[in-house]
Amino acid sequence: MGRYIIKRLLWMIPIALGVAILVFTLMTFTPGDPAQTLLGATATEEDLNAKREELGLNDPYFVRLFDYLGDVFIRFDLGNSWITSVSIIDTIKIRMPRTVILTVVTLIIAFGLGIPLGVLAATHQNKWQDSVSMVLAMIGVAIPNFWLALLLVVAFSVKLRWLPAMGIEMGLISYILPALSNCTGALANCARQTRSSMLDVIRADYITTARSKGVPERSVIYKHALKNALIPIITAAGTAFGRLLGGAMIIETIFDIPGMGTYIIGSLNNRDYPVVQGGTIFLAIVFSILMLLVDLLYAAVDPRIKAQYASSKKRKKVKANA
């Protein structure tokens, strides 16, 4: 297991390197001259050239690429923003926690509601509770979250005045509306996954065994069945966490949350390439670590998988699942 973790961690290096090269290359081909953006339309050609020289934009692509990779992977420095000359790492330190909070609140809502909804549907299979839950889930997937965000703002901020519509000044309360509008997809997926996973489990012989032992129905569902059904759900949660972390960008824009999303989108508009590159590399690394943790969590919950990790021969199969 230890070797497995080390191997996965080592794999992250080439992946991060690949991400860096990919984003750097994409940025190189983005239309718009950063020097011009920085200096404004009225800058003279000499000024622009001087600025380009300063930013290293006049060097050949490979020189700049290797310089950049050297900065990031040898000196561990993501550089400074071109626009504000503030250290990118420092800004990420301030902004990332907000995105994480938003994601965590989103996940809590999504799984806090999704799991009971899925269990309800599974335990009342083919009854009205099932249909209602599943149609709700379908609708949840179908509603674009930025649209829902607009509607929620009108309802809860403008009309009812219950929740703030922007910013993070109110602490956790500020994250409720963004999280609510961001959670529908994850909630629906969670509910559906819980349902099908529960249905598989409920039919399993060991559930009959549990019943035959005189275990109360509630315990049968929540202790015996859910615990088994949770295994795929936990993977789903991990994956959802990763996806939400990167997918909250539009929601951050709508709710004016100064997190990673608004940081990267804003920098993209300003052609602040180092920020886009640094932000993306950072998110990619976080995402990879998360995926590793999901796999480990998976092993921790299911003793069978752990046994597989232990016997290294079967590692391949696990990887395919991941």
Binding site: T123, Q125, N126, R203, A204, D205, Y206, T208, T209, A210, R211, S212, K213, G214, V215, P216, E217, H224, K227, N228, I231, V301, D302, P303, R304, A307
Partner: protein
């Protein structure tokens, strides 16, 4: 079919006219169609029949653990120790499950919760049925049970996937017997096991039953197992008991054509036969049972009378019951 005898006390387990149906995709499956059985303490009744004949359903009906979706007990009574289990509230029923009645399942590979240690699974049933004031330590009891079924107590905190099939079945048995049940429902306890393991497990079950004077309903399709363990035999076909008597009666004088067919399908070590004689045809579609005798389409002796209406139970010459209107004709022919 035991004759109703109001003068004697009720047997320990007494099932009367049990009817169970499933609804699936809008079709009704007639799984059990009026089964009556009885069993005394310390005795073993073998329930024999093909796959899908309704044996497992009967066992699950006794425990009332039929799947929620679609399964329904439509009629009948199940008396245990004088109590009608079908009328008990769920709370009372829960006290009986695993305690007074427990069940051993067919497939040990899937019958254990994969994310719970085996010890926990045994201890759980003990804990659930602790009487008020009972100071038994569930964990100790679980360890004791492991030893009883021949597993070292040190393996208490291992997970099912660390055990072999036979060992798992021992764990299942340990769970079933942990509370000294009065009635043990063993649903093909050896089918999924290797032949050598089968014998060990059967011996174990038989030993424990004798030790605790437990009544046992043994469900199987294996006549050999019946011969080894049972006192009485009920042969079931398409949700109906077609022949019912002591082991001796049924084995010596099988009367119902289906039973005869079953014996014909067992290789006899003493005779040098070239072919086994499987029963022609397939079991009927339980959603669409034939009119009259359910076995009539496969029965070499069937007449028009068989296909007309439900068949009554007849008592045979040596005193066991048979649901066939042609027993005399058959007896003659079989000689």
């Amino acid at each position: 079919m035991a004759e109703k005898n109001p003068n004697t006390d009720r047997p320990f387990l007494d099932i009367k006219d049990l009817v169970v149906e499933y609804v699936s995709d809008g079709e009704t499956v007639h799984a059990v169609n009026g089964v009556s059985l009885h069993l005394e303490r310390g005795k073993t009744l073998g329930l024999v029949g093909e796959t899908g004949a309704g044996k497992t359903t009967i066992a699950k009906s006794i425990l009332r653990i039929l799947p929620d979706v679609g399964a329904k007990i439509c009629g009948g009574e199940v008396h245990l120790d004088g109590e009608n289990l079908l009328e008990l509230p769920e709370v009372e029923m829960r006290k009986i499950r695993g305690n007074k009645i427990s069940m051993i399942f067919q497939d040990p590979m899937t019958a254990l919760n994969p994310v719970q240690t085996v010890g926990d699974q045994i201890a759980e049933v003990v804990r659930l049925h602790l009487e008020h004031g009972d100071r038994t330590d569930p964990v100790e009891r679980a360890k004791e049970m492991l030893e009883i079924v021949g597993i070292p107590a040190e393996r208490f905190s291992e997970y099912p996937h660390q055990f072999s099939g036979g060992m798992k079945q021992r764990v299942v048995i340990a769970i079933a017997l942990a509370c000294n049940p009065d009635l043990l429902l063993a649903d093909e306890p050896t089918t999924a096991l290797d032949v050598t393991i089968q014998a060990q497990v059967l011996d174990l079950i038989a030993d424990l039953r004798n030790k605790y004077n437990t009544a046992m309903l043994l469900i199987t399709h294996d006549m050999g197992v019946v011969a080894q363990v049972c006192d009485d035999v009920a042969v079931i076909y398409a949700g109906n008991i077609v022949e019912y008597g002591t082991k001796r009666q049924v084995f010596k004088h099988p009367t119902h054509p289906y039973t005869i067919g079953l014996f014909g399908a067992i290789p006899d070590m003493n005779e040098d036969e070239e072919w086994l004689h499987p029963i022609d045809g397939l079991p009927p579609d339980p959603t669409n049972l034939p009119q009259g005798c359910a076995f009539s389409p496969r029965c070499p002796y069937a007449t028009d009378e068989c296909r007309k209406e439900a068949i009554k139970v007849y008592r045979t010459a040596d005193g066991h019951d048979c649901r066939c209107c042609r027993i005399e004709a058959i007896a003659k022919k079989e000689g």
